[in-house]
């Protein structure tokens, strides 16, 4: 069994590739601990039609 | 109806129906409130009455037993008794200028409805009372009574209560230094969850829950009111459950407060510095008030 965490970040303005890159950096450096966790996916929820 | 149920509005609309039954007030209690005010209470007043007149706050059914603390206390007991019944917690002199304060309180109905949070906030409540006396909490204990050990509902209640008591204390660094447990079918639907907290302090740090004079500063601080609102004590404490699946106990779960021990720990740290010591002025002046508020804000900020 695997378990995980899901973070929803709300940003001001449009989700540009730069914003997404920033979110990925936050996920890799703070939100997840690479020793025990993997960042599985960082996506724009609106663009994904969620 | 206007948005605010003001006193004038209440006086002008005597027949407006109020949900006093849902808030745990009986018909005759509601009539007493109306008689005391000379009109129907506003919704805000009703909420306040329902809390203050609840079993939880006024001990309306157990008052006669609790009075024995007053009549059965001997002079020999009083010799070491620094603070007796009526305050947040009792205080006993243990010598060398040190005092120990104890508080034991039940959190039965919330623990039946939502075992984990009910028991956890029971611990939270007594820790608050120890802090309020000016003491530093050092340990917790618990005395538990559950229904028949082989009853399915007992299996629902026990693990949550045990985890709630232990988890809340642990988050505050308070060891659970002992306790006792009994299983008997008489407690089906009415488990008893009694938690005790012990604190230590210097005699001069004892604080009583009273203030005199005008112009005193009132500061409310702690974690924010949760989705449970403030009605939990009135909704739950005066309720009766029979332990059968259809008694509605677990359905009242939203009325149980959710504990926030981490926030409590912050309060724990700011309070001793915020309380004036006895030998200093009891009523802080404006400058000291500003300093106190700064101190509280700094301590609670995250």
């Amino acid at each position: 069994m695997r378990q995980g965490k899901r973070f929803e970040l709300v940003v001001e303005g449009p989700v540009t590739p730069a914003v997404l890159a920033q979110a990925r950096k936050a996920a890799e450096q703070l939100l997840a601990n690479p020793v025990i966790e993997d960042v599985v996916s960082v996506t724009d929820a609106d663009a994904a039609g969620a | 109806m206007s948005l605010l149920d003001t006193v004038d509005h209440a006086a002008a609309t005597p027949d407006h129906e109020l949900p006093y039954g849902e808030l745990g007030l009986k018909d005759d209690e509601f009539e007493r409130i109306c008689a005391a005010l000379g009109r129907r209470p506003t919704t805000c007043e009703l909420a306040m009455y329902s809390v203050m007149w609840s079993e939880h706050c006024s001990y309306k059914s157990s008052k006669t037993h609790l009075r024995q603390f007053g009549t059965k206390t001997t002079d020999e007991m009083r010799e070491k008794l620094l603070v007796g019944i009526g305050e947040n917690a009792g205080v006993v002199d243990v010598g060398d200028g040190w005092a120990v304060t104890f508080k034991v309180e039940s959190h039965n109905h919330p623990s039946y409805v939502e075992p984990h949070q009910g028991a956890a906030t029971g611990v939270g409540g007594i820790v608050r009372d120890i802090l309020a006396m000016g003491a530093r909490p050092v340990a917790v204990m618990d005395s538990l009574r559950f229904g028949a050990i082989d009853h399915p509902d007992t299996a629902r209640v026990v693990p949550g209560v045990v985890a709630g008591v232990g988890g809340y204390g642990n988050c505050l660094g308070l060891p659970n230094i002992g306790g006792e447990v009994v299983f008997d079918s008489v407690y089906q639907g009415n488990p008893l969850v009694n938690a005790l907290c012990v604190g230590t302090m210097r005699h001069e740090d004892i604080h009583l829950a009273n203030a005199t004079g005008e112009g005193n500063l009132v500061v409310l601080f702690g974690s924010r009111t949760g989705g449970d609102g403030i009605g939990g004590v009135s909704v739950l404490a005066s309720e009766t459950f029979d332990g059968t699946p259809g008694d509605g106990g677990p359905s009242k779960r939203p009325a149980v407060q959710v504990g926030d021990p981490v926030r409590r720990e912050a309060a724990h740290r700011v309070l001793p510095g915020a309380l004036p010591r006895r030998r200093r002025r009891r009523h802080p002046g404006p400058r000291r008030r500003r300093a106190l508020l700064r101190h509280l804000r700094a301590g609670l900020r995250r």
Binding site: L30, L31, N33, V35 | G166, G167, C171, E265
Partner: protein, 233 residues
């Protein structure tokens, strides 16, 4: 010698840690999570508790608290730093020590008098012990399983950087029974068990004969060791 004891919001064992520092012969200096400097201390202890409620992950938010900037900088420059329990988690999250702590494999909180073997008595915090010596200090944690990838574990073993190992059964699923590790310099040490709770006769562990000291004060060696390390520096 001034030993700083850091208090994050939610830290619980700072009083005991400060008392242990004093019992060891040092001067305890209280450091607050929001401090921008270390107030002239010679060494730092990060005590146990639930820093910032352990929200996100145990020790994660504390590892980027303002006070950790100067702590990390000083540690890299050779200042002795000891992380106990939550403090160990903070040191791992801050990257001063390798690995991470995960939920106990038994899935419950564990509290017991724990036997440990001192695997490395050359560090700034363990010189009062002999390598191979057995000690007993309290252990109390919910997320104490030491974890790292095989390569890191092999490296730690190869470089002799495993400082403590659990004896008498692994209490929390830590890889290779590791209870504590050090950095390459031997100045930064982290462990899950609590030496600061075993520094005063009558208040420390009573099981296993009260440990090597016989009176439950095996933890005192941590706090005398650091003074020796500082005196010889």
């Amino acid at each position: 010698m001034k030993i700083g004891v850091v208090t994050f919001p939610g830290t619980l064992d700072d009083r005991d840690a400060a008392r242990a520092v004093v019992r060891g012969g040092g001067e305890a200096v209280a450091l607050w999570h929001a401090d921008a400097d270390l107030r002239g201390v010679d060494a730092v202890v990060l005590p146990g508790g639930f820093s910032y409620g352990d929200y996100l992950r145990a020790g994660a938010i504390a590892s980027i608290a303002p006070v950790m900037g100067p702590v990390v900088e000083a540690a890299r420059a050779g200042m002795p730093v000891l992380g106990i329990c939550n403090g160990f988690q903070v040191l791992c999250e801050a990257g001063l020590l390798p690995g991470a702590l995960v939920r106990n494999d038994v899935r419950t909180f564990v509290c017991r008098d724990q036997r440990l073997r001192v695997e490395d008595a050359s560090t700034a915090w363990t010189s009062a012990f002999e390598t191979g010596q057995e000690i007993v200090v309290p252990l109390k944690n919910g997320e104490g399983g030491y974890n790292a990838d095989e390569r890191t574990l092999d490296e730690l073993e190869g470089e002799g950087r495993v400082v403590f190992r659990y004896l008498g059964g692994n209490p929390n699923g830590s890889r290779r029974d590791i209870a504590g590790v050090r950095d390459a310099s031997g100045r930064v040490v982290g462990l899950m068990p609590h030496p600061e709770h075993a520094t005063e006769p009558g208040y420390g562990p009573t099981e296993h004969g009260g440990g090597a000291s016989g009176d439950g004060t095996d933890g005192l060696g941590f706090f005398t060791s650091v003074l020796t390390a500082l005196a010889s520096a």
